[in-house]
Amino acid sequence: MIPAAWYLILSAVLFLIGVLGFFLKRNIIALLLSVEIMLNAVNLTFVVFSAQHRQISGQIFVFFVLVVAAAEAAVGLALVIAMFRNRESLNVDRSNLLKW
C-alpha cells in the first residue's frame, strides 16, 4: 500500500510551489490562487494523518479550512475589485500608498 510519507512529501511539494508562487508572482489574483494551493497542501496533510491515526478529527479540520478558504476568496476578490477600480492594475507593487 501507499506509505503516508509519500503523501506528506507530495503535500510538501505542493506547499513549496504555493510559496514560490506567492513570492514570485505580482498579480494579486495569482497570489490568491497560490494561497489556495497552499491550503490544499495542508488539507492533504490533515487527511493523511486522519487516515493514519484513524481519527475523524483531521477531516473535520479540512472542513473548517474549506470554510475559511471560501471566506478568504470572497473577501479577497472583493478587495481585488476595489483595487482594480482605483488603480486599473492588479500589480501588488503598484498599490504601495502605505509604503511612503
Binding site: 475523524i56 473535520i60 470572497a74 472583493a78
Partner: protein
Amino acid sequence: MIQIVFFFFAAVTVGAAINVIAQKHVLYSALSLILLLTAMSVLFILLRADFLAVIQVIVYAGAIMVLFIFVIMLLNLPRDEDGADRLRWLKFIGIPLGLFFLFLVGATVWNVEPSSAQPQLVGSAQAIGQSLFTDYVLPFEATSLLILIALIGAVVFAKKDL
C-alpha cells in the same frame, strides 16, 4: 495498481500546481487550479475520505473557483506585467532555498516511523456529521459567524459607495 493511480494523480497535482504559477494569464492559472483540485479529490478517495472528496469537487472546484473565474472575467484584465525588476534576483535565491526546505521536509518525513496511511476509517458523511455536531458544535457555529462576517465584508469592499 493503487500505486499507479497515486503516482498518476500526484503527478497531475504537481504539474497543475506548477502550471498555475507558470501561466502568464491568470485565467489559465485558475483553470489549472481546478484541475489540481479535482486530482486532489481523487487522492482523498484513495485515503477513503469520501465525503471530503465530494465536497472538494462541489464546493472548491464548483463554487470557490467559479467565484475566481467570474471576477477574472469581470475585470477584463490587461496583460500581466509580471516580474518587476527588483524581484529578479529573488528567483535565484528563493528557488534554491525552497528546494532546500523541501529536502529538509523530505528527510524528516522519511526518517519517521514507516507506516502506511491505511483506509480503516471511512470518512463518510455520517461519520463526519456525527463528529461535527457533537464534538465540534462550537467551532461549527463560529463558522457561521465567520461566513456572515465575510459576506458583509465582501459587500462593503466591493460596493462603490455605501
